[in-house]
């Protein structure tokens, strides 16, 4: 039987990267993503005697991380940051690959224009591969709200992405 400490180490080993990258896609800043993920793991460590018995402890960890990330976004108003480094990525690419990377950069920039909550929905749906019900549980809202938010966010991404692309 594994000791609780070993279980927690194993949990961190398995989940840390996924949590960090998910948080990063929401907060869009590496240092903030580190802080948020660290605080998430810290809270989990304190509550581990209880958390270790949970059936859905990955979901519990994700819920803490995403809500902390959204709190951070609310506090810092980080929306609207341009991802200029994408330009450097496309500079050395071939024509076809360059166009694909440009589209990716457009989408990432458009994601930055979404509200943090809408961005979280898109990240959980398309990066986390979560169902609408799982996203609703993570964000503490209804499935209907998730559907509406997703639909509006996709429309905005479609419009915004096209606008950015056309302006080049």
């Amino acid at each position: 039987m594994r000791r609780p400490q070993d279980e927690f180490d194993g949990f961190v080993s398995e989940q840390c990267e996924r949590l960090l990258r998910t948080v990063y896609l929401i907060v869009r800043d590496p240092a903030t993503a580190e802080d948020v993920t660290q605080e998430t793991l810290l809270r989990l460590a304190r509550r581990w005697p209880r958390v270790r018995h949970m059936r859905h402890r990955n979901a519990y960890a994700r819920r803490i991380a995403v809500n902390l990330a959204l709190d951070e976004c609310s506090a810092r108003r980080r929306e609207g940051e341009a991802l200029e480094r994408q330009g450097a990525v496309t500079a050395g690419a071939g024509a076809e690959e360059g166009e694909r990377l440009e589209q990716r950069a457009d989408l990432i920039a458009a994601l930055g224009e979404l509200s943090p909550r809408a961005r979280a929905v898109i990240v959980l749906r398309y990066y986390g591969d979560l169902s609408e019900a799982q996203i609703a549980e993570t964000l503490g809202c209804s499935v209907g709200t998730v559907k509406t938010t997703t639909s509006r966010a996709l429309s905005k991404l479609r419009r915004q992405g096209g606008k950015i692309h056309a302006a080049r």
Binding site: Q5, F8, D9, V12, S13, E14, Q15, C16, E17, R18, L19, L20, R21, T22, Y24, L25, P30, A31, A33, E34, D35, T37, Q38, E39, L41, L42, R43, L44, A45, R46, R47, N58, R62, R63, I64, N67, L68, L70, D71, S74, A75, R76, R85, Q103, R104, L107, I108, L111, I122, V123, Y126, Y127, G128, G140, L154, L157, R158
Partner: protein
């Protein structure tokens, strides 16, 4: 290519662009709560009871002590708050704590102690600690120890330590001596003291200034783990 597919690809690419160093730093942290090893009193029994329950509520750190670049302007002695510094921090912290309920953090709305050092404000609440500085705000929940407690964590890989403890009503000043030789004067209010410093250095003693003199107590905390003390875990991407 469909939009769904484009979004998946864009997010995967963006997530992969995150530096591996970020993950390594997180995986090098020892998150487990640590036990306290009380030290013998140096002198004065007045505050022995107050320190009897001293403990580390949390100890985690990255790297060694002494790196202060992330905390420019820190002072070992509390400074007067700039205009609206405390009020501004209180408003930001209140907003975070209000939102903390959904992430399991509860707190009273008003701080019981405010410590300012240069541009940094440390607010102590009944059930939480809020640390604000230029461009950042960090909230820690579930502090709680009847004695002196320290909490070492990191911001952008730079460790910092917060110390909180009881200060009986007759105490007017509290000074912590760190193992690296630094003396840090704490802020005293509401029968508590609080201080922080930009390193993982452990406090070795605490001196309480009272009308009848100064009483010093030894403190003994486990050393902060370093990145070399705990081997980095293998990375994993499951979830």
């Amino acid at each position: 290519m469909q939009l769904d597919e484009q979004i998946r690809e864009a997010l995967a690419g963006e997530a992969a662009s995150l530096s591996a160093a970020s993950l390594e730093r997180l995986q090098a942290v020892d998150y487990r709560p640590r036990a306290h090893a009380p030290g013998p009193p140096i002198g004065g029994a007045l505050l022995g009871c107050a320190l009897a329950g001293a403990g580390v509520t949390l100890a985690l750190a990255l790297g060694g002590s002494g790196t202060q670049t992330a905390f420019a302007g820190w002072q070992p002695t509390p400074t007067a708050a700039a205009s609206d510094q405390t009020g501004g921090a209180e408003a930001q912290c209140a907003a975070r704590l209000d939102g903390g309920a959904k992430s399991g953090l509860g707190a009273s709305p008003a701080p019981v102690l405010a410590d300012t050092r240069g541009p940094y404000t440390l607010l102590i609440y009944e059930q939480a600690t809020c640390f604000a500085g230029p461009g950042f705000l960090t909230v820690h929940g579930e502090q709680g120890s009847s004695g002196v407690s320290i909490s070492t964590t990191a911001r952008s890989g730079q460790p910092y330590t917060i110390a909180i403890g009881p200060a009986p009503s007759e105490v007017g000043a509290v000074t912590l001596s760190l193992e690296d030789g630094t003396s840090v004067q704490a802020t005293v209010a509401s029968s508590r003291f609080a201080a922080w410093w930009p390193s993982a250095s452990r406090p070795t003693s605490v001196a309480f200034g009272t009308p009848s003199g100064t009483h010093t107590e030894a403190l003994s905390f486990p050393p902060a783990p370093t990145t070399t003390a705990k081997p980095a875990r293998a990375s994993g991407a499951s979830g």
